[in-house]
């Protein structure tokens, strides 16, 4: 029988010793890996705390803030029937994208819960099926815009980390629109894949064949022949102004949404 001797003492995962660990959410466990109190080593499991998940506050200031915006002015109407989520284009793809629940979290100012959904809160594609169906005319599609603005304002750190790629792709998109006046999907796709370090996936057989075919029949170069749209100068100015305005709102402090 061979004995295996470990070089190092294995580092326990956070909360690993809790028997019903799977029932407790990560963020509700507080545990320091290395902690010495008065010379006593209380590292790891010796200092574990499990926080209560009871919600103990309804914060209506958040609701008031949303209500003051143009896109979120009808937040007080929502009665949570779920028609928006039922008709949503995105929900079948991202189960965690739930317009009804997002509106409810905004109504009760439940930022703690909202924070868990930052990565999906942006995924509204603006098809407006929900707004067409909503029995109370809440206009959930625009409510998702309000949500996006507010999430950006309250969770800048998470946006910078979790949504880094989204922000970068957005920059590419904006540059493309302002620079050329046209959206080149192929280029957008390639740039996005490049940013996420998945460029190799673009060079599979199917892609290579498609590129070859497009080069052969001339489609690949047609974009170069296309000029800028008619009267582009004026449109460009308007778009730039809009983008500047949006950035001002997003980067402002409290009350910035009032505009």
């Amino acid at each position: 029988m061979a004995l295996e001797k470990r070089e190092q003492r294995p580092v326990a995962e956070k909360g690993e010793h809790i028997i019903a660990r799977h029932l407790i959410e990560d963020e509700n466990i507080k545990e320091e890996k290395n902690l010495v109190i008065d010379g006593v080593d209380v590292s790891g499991r010796w200092n574990t705390f499990v926080l209560s998940r009871v919600n103990s506050e309804f914060d209506r200031s958040f609701f008031q803030e949303i209500k003051k915006t143009v896109v979120g002015s009808r937040i007080n109407r929502c009665w949570q029937c779920g028609m928006c989520t039922a008709s949503c284009t995105v929900t079948p793809l991202y189960r965690r994208f739930n317009p009804r629940a997002f509106i409810y979290m905004m109504q009760l100012g439940n930022l703690k819960e909202l924070k868990k959904y930052i990565d999906v809160a942006w995924r509204c594609v603006g098809c407006y099926k929900c707004s067409q169906r909503c029995p109370k005319q809440v206009n959930p599609a625009e409510m998702m815009e309000a949500l996006a603005l507010v999430v950006k304002k309250y969770f800048p750190e998470e946006i910078a980390t979790k949504l880094k790629l989204d922000e970068e792709v957005k920059k590419i998109y904006e540059d493309m629109i302002i620079g050329h006046g046209r959206l080149d999907l192929a280029k957008l796709h390639t740039s996005a894949m490049q940013k996420s370090g998945r460029i190799k996936e673009l060079l599979g057989k199917i892609e290579r064949d498609a590129i070859l075919k497009m080069a052969k029949d001339g489609r690949a170069f047609s974009i170069l022949r296309l000029g800028k749209p008619h009267n582009w100068g004026k449109s460009k100015e308007a778009i730039e102004k809009y983008l500047k305005n949006i950035n001002t709102i997003e980067n402002s402090g409290t009350g910035g949404l009032n505009g």
């Binding site: 009871v54 007080n76 009665w79 109370k136």
Partner: protein, 347 residues
Amino acid sequence: MAENILVIGGGPAGLNAAVMLSELGVNVALVERDSFLGGNPKKFKYKFLFPDMQPADNVIGELIKKAEAGGSIKVYYSSEVSDFKENGKKFDVTLKSADGSETKTFDSVIVATGFEHFDPARDAKYSYQLFDDVIDIKDLERMMGENNFVRPSNGKPPKKVAFILCVGSRDRHVGNQYCSRVCCTVSVKQAIEMREHFPDCEAYIFYMDIRTYGFFEDLYWQAMEEHDVQIVKGRIAEITSGPDNTVICKGEDTLLRGPFEIPFDMVVLASGMEGGPQSPEMSSKLGIELDEHGFLKPENITLSPFKSSKAGIFLAGACTGPKAISDSITEGAAAAMNAYTYAVKNR
């Protein structure tokens, strides 16, 4: 010779029945256990009535005025039916009051003994009577009627108020499985009144379903869309005392699936309606049937909701089940018509 008809109960239904009958020239004996007419709306000083927020006095006061105007209505205040005998197709009834008793023969009888508000103290989880700031809708209605809407504990206006629906209704634990029909609308109405008078005070309604049926729905929409009343889905399982003289409502947010414990300045319990002790009393004295919910049982709930199980005895108002004031008044008129027909037929 004019007919003699007995009306038991001087609430909205009984009053309207008596007034309609007197207009037909019938001699009406109106028996009321309290020393005043008007029933529960008067007793608990209802101020405004849903759905149009008209002063309760417009309705109840008007009926009382008509009934007390004399004519062929004789009101027996602080009285009760002490003895009841069938006499052929007629009824020999003894009416007892502090002044003595009187036996008369009546051609037909209308029972309009109404309802009792559920006593929330019977359901310990709501801590009613344990904390001063836990009140119920009838207490709030009275406070508003007296223009004295403040926290009972310290006399200051509240900043955050919770309304809890389905207290004493739709709950096997307290023995009432039925829906009391009006408490949703009353709570929504009170939340609107509160927000109108105190815009700084936040109003939350904890609900399982909001049953503002028919056009009462307008009030519900108005509460949310014009007065920012927030509805939260989940029934409250426990009320405890919190820091800074608050009361904590403990429940589950069933839409987001998570427990909450929220401190409030004041909690208003939407206590439901019950048949009260008067319904079984009428049932045994008059020999009419009682239903499984503790209300008087109509002969046919759809075809003849105003007839009791015994010919010649008619039912009106909330004694047959939870009802809005407008429905009680309608039923008073329906019962009056039927009682009159019966009396004329058996003259």
